[in-house]
């Protein structure tokens, strides 16, 4: 038996040889064992092949395939869709966009050491108050905000601290790269990115539709800058409480620039004062005074009741009931219609309006859009205050811009209609492709033509001289109104405004300037009226605008231009022919 035992220690071939000589039963078992060895060898080869295939597949999947196929989405790699669409100006300059930002919050229950954690956090975020942070971290609340909108450097710093229990919320932050430049137009958003003012509010649905389509405004950032810069300078020069301005494309109603000062930085709208958030150009309604004589004169001429050569008695003030209507620069004589406009006669204007009548005036003001809120795409729109009931005395005061309070934007829009050939285009801030909408005719082309000449006259010879910039052929009209204060009007608190149009041969741009309580200085000999304050400001704005929009400089003494701007004897008498 022991001999058989040893057989199994022998190599296979020797075992095979011996098995031939062994007895029956032994040979049977040995044969099975030999077969089993062979089968084990086959299975070894199969398994070896199987594991080799697996190894090869590993190399293929982990090294070779890697370059050929995209890596797994890691969560952060995909660009996140914008939460709000961008706002751009008419030339594509970015007015509002989004930046990825992280806000730091904490699970106070997971903070082991609030004192140490607060100390470490304040080292990285020095603007935090350590005591406040420690109180938050020790509050045991599951969720407390620590700081919103961390910079990438701060984010890295907090991550490096590695404090468990702190977390980030990755969101997008609305950013206005040009700061306060167009603050009253773009508006701003709250901490949850909901639009709560300006275009951000009025177009909130459109901006958050997720289509990520940029919204193009009609603003031109260059003109916006020129307007705001000059208004700021004027505010400082005349120590005014506020200033507002708007630049319109007279042919389309597009708002090219709109500024209300003081303004604010929409990136930090929460810190702005109520005054800064108030949009004087669209939300404020004012009795703007003599600029209304543009409408009054156009109304008279267009109605056919008044001819340019008609004259009105302005020798003495008008007394109606307890009111007295007098002129600021009394001529104490009969004045022609162009003279009434040029010298800004209240008496003449009132009498002219009476000739047209109350119903006619009301109808005309309505057609010009003076009795309804301006149809602008901003939520901050003021509703005009019109006389109710509209009596004869109201007809007389509205003639020179009192008793009817409208927003500066309405005036600019109305003036654009008067001088562009007589068609009113609703003012707009949203740039649209395709043909411009028709607009509604408010005065005849002939009336528009005469009004251009009259407005040119004001800048050339009348109260608007200081708005003149040689070569740009500016026309305009001053308006100095006393603010309503206490009982009646306050003689010292003025609203000085000037509406300018250029170039008068083919009017394209309307510039409206409003100064709130300007004060005279040495250069103005103490005068704060529009001709000394608002008019030169409008001139400066145009001087900066014209090269940007590409208006060629004209020779104002050119025969053709003189003829185009002429108010001759057949129109208004000898006195004017000599200018």
């Amino acid at each position: 038996m022991s001999r058989r035992e040893n057989d199994f220690e022998l190599p296979l071939f020797e075992l095979r040889a011996r098995s031939e000589t062994a007895d029956g039963s032994t040979r049977s078992e040995v044969r099975w064992l030999l077969t089993g060895r062979g089968r084990l060898q086959i299975m070894s080869v199969l398994f070896a092949a199987l594991f080799l295939v697996i190894g090869g597949r590993l190399v293929h999947v982990m090294l070779l395939r890697q370059a050929a196929e995209p890596a797994v989405a890691t969560g952060q790699a995909e660009p996140r869709a914008s939460e709000r669409a961008d706002l751009v100006d008419r030339n594509g300059i970015l007015l509002a966009t989004n930046l990825a930002s992280a806000s730091l919050h904490a699970d106070a229950q997971a903070i082991d050491d609030p004192v140490g954690a607060a100390r470490a956090l304040v080292r990285v975020l020095p603007d935090l108050d350590e005591d406040a942070v420690r109180r938050k971290l020790a509050s045991n609340k599951r969720f407390v905000w620590i700081k919103r909108n961390l910079t990438p450097r701060e984010l890295h710093g907090v991550n490096v601290l590695g404090i468990p229990g702190l977390g980030f919320e990755h969101r997008q932050r609305r950013v206005y790269p040009l700061g306060s430049l167009a603050a009253h137009v773009t508006g701003y958003v709250d901490v949850d990115n909901n639009g709560i003012a300006g275009i951000e509010k009025s177009r909130d649905d459109l901006l958050t539709q997720g289509r990520d389509e940029t919204l193009r405004l009609t603003l031109d950032a260059r003109l916006q800058h020129a307007l705001r810069d000059e208004l700021l300078a004027a505010m400082e020069r005349f120590r005014a409480k506020g200033a507002g301005g708007v630049v319109l494309d007279a042919l389309s109603g597009e708002v090219l620039a709109l500024s209300s000062l003081p303004d604010f930085d929409p990136n930090r709208a929460g810190e702005a004062s109520q005054l800064a958030l108030f949009n004087q150009v669209t939300l404020g309604v004012y009795e703007l005074g003599s600029v209304f004589k543009i409408f009054n004169t156009a109304m008279g001429l267009d109605s056919g009741v008044v001819k340019l050569r008609d004259r009105y008695d302005a020798t003495r003030p008008i007394r109606v009931a307890r009111f007295t209507i007098r002129d600021d620069h009394p001529k104490r004589r009969w004045l022609s219609v162009p003279e009434i406009f040029k010298y800004s006669s209240n008496i003449g204007s009132a009498k002219l309006a009476l000739d047209v009548g109350t119903a006619g005036q009301r109808d005309f003001m309505d057609r010009l859009g003076m009795l309804r809120a301006a149809p602008i795409e901003l939520p901050e729109v003021g509703t005009p205050l019109s006389p109710e009931p509209w009596r004869e005395i109201n007809t007389m005061t509205v003639a020179f811009g009192h008793g009817l309070a409208v927003s500066p934007l309405q005036v600019a829009s109305g003036v654009a209609a008067i001088i562009n050939g007589g068609v009113l285009h609703p003012p707009t801030l949203i740039r649209r492709d395709g043909p411009r909408p028709e607009g509604t005719r408010v005065v005849s082309a002939r009336t528009s033509e005469i009004m251009r000449r009259l407005m040119r006259l004001v800048v050339r010879d009348g109260t608007g001289k200081q708005a003149s910039i040689p070569g740009y052929l500016i026309g305009g009209k001053t308006g100095t109104a006393e603010k309503v204060g206490g009982r009646g009007y306050n003689r010292r608190a003025l609203l000085s405004s000037f509406v300018a149009v250029f170039p008068m041969t083919a009017p394209r741009y309307v510039v409206f300037v409003l100064l709130d309580e300007p004060r005279g200085n040495d250069a103005t000999h103490g005068f704060a009226s529009a001709g000394w304050t608002a008019a030169p400001t409008a001139g400066r704005i145009i001087a900066r605008m014209a090269p940007i929009v590409g208006i060629p400089v004209l020779d104002e003494e050119d025969r053709q231009i003189r003829r185009a701007m002429h108010i001759g004897p057949k129109d208004g008498g000898t006195r004017l022919a000599s200018y």
């Binding site: 038996m1 022991s2 035992e5 040893n6 057989d7 199994f8 220690e9 039963s25 049977s28 078992e29 099975w32 064992l33 077969t35 089993g36 060895r37 089968r39 084990l40 060898q41 299975m43 070894s44 398994f47 070896a48 199987l50 594991f51 295939v53 697996i54 190894g55 597949r57 590993l58 190399v59 999947v61 982990m62 090294l63 395939r65 890697q66 196929e69 890596a71 797994v72 890691t74 969560g75």
Partner: protein, 374 residues
Amino acid sequence: MLTLARTDTSIVGRWWWTVDRWMLLAIGLLITLGAVLTLAASPAVAERLDLWSYHFVTRQFVFLGPAIALMLAISMVDTVTVRRIATCGLLASLPLLALTVVIGPEINGAHRWLQVAGFSLQPSEFVKPFFIVVTAWMLSAEKGNQPIPGNAIAGALALLVSGLLLAQPDIGMALVVVAVWSAQVFMAGLPFIWVGALIAIAAVAGVLLYNHVPHFTSRIDRFLDPAAGDTYQIETALEAFANGGLMGRGPGEGIGKRVLPDAHTDFIFAVAGEEFGLVVCIAVVCLFAFVTLRGYRRLMGEDSLFIMLAAGGLLTQFGLQAAINMGVNLRLLPTKGMTLPFISYGGSSLLGLAIGMGMVIALTRRRPRREIRG
């Protein structure tokens, strides 16, 4: 390390000098790797299931000690005791396997588990090693001219076990059982003509399964045409491997485990690939190959048909499960729930494997030549 004299005749002393220490080392390394990978993969799954992060880790580690002890204990017994343990074990575990079909709760459409004292027990994991050893005994008894209808009993057992597994249903496990049984029959000298016939039968069975079991159909369809259905899990696994590259993203840096539903069990190999890289994956493959092939090599010098068939079957189960699991992870095979031996999470699987490999170590110990054969 243990210092035992050659002349030490205690159980441990004798064991130390007769055991295959290289295989012991390889299995030890696999268990260690399994512990590390469970730490890497299972917290992500536990957190996704709203469990404590280390829920699976602690449970697995609780089983680890008893499993190692059980394996070492079994590895010290002799051949006859192995046979007895297997016979008793099979008699005990088969009824449990039958019970799962009757009272087992339905989890993912199958009844594979029994709830025992807070733990889920998967009887099929225990049936496997016992069944393999008993099959080996029956086949070798027939070849050894003993008066037992060994082949018939082995065949009947195979039908019973695979039938119960199909009733659960656990097709993957049934396939493994049938495959291992076939390998044993093959080692026992099945004529090649029969081998061909069996392969033909398997092919027919495969076609029948494909045509009549919808679950099976969809698995195969998705494997053959990835665009046909939801292959999210396997695609994620492949991306995880690709992310890993040569050296891996580093421990804990894996991303795939956050979304792979079975990151701690069936797809733990993908997590290993992502976090530890190709080098560690190849090492794992080498360890499995080493254990399987070294075991086979040692059996070739074996003088007992029973030992050859029993240990051969157990090693085949071990190697096959590993190969299938890794093959599924690498999209070489259709998705099939199969644990990676000693590495995947799962108490029953771990204990079953400990018993099986304990028996392999016991059976492959160098023995003094046998004295008498009946």
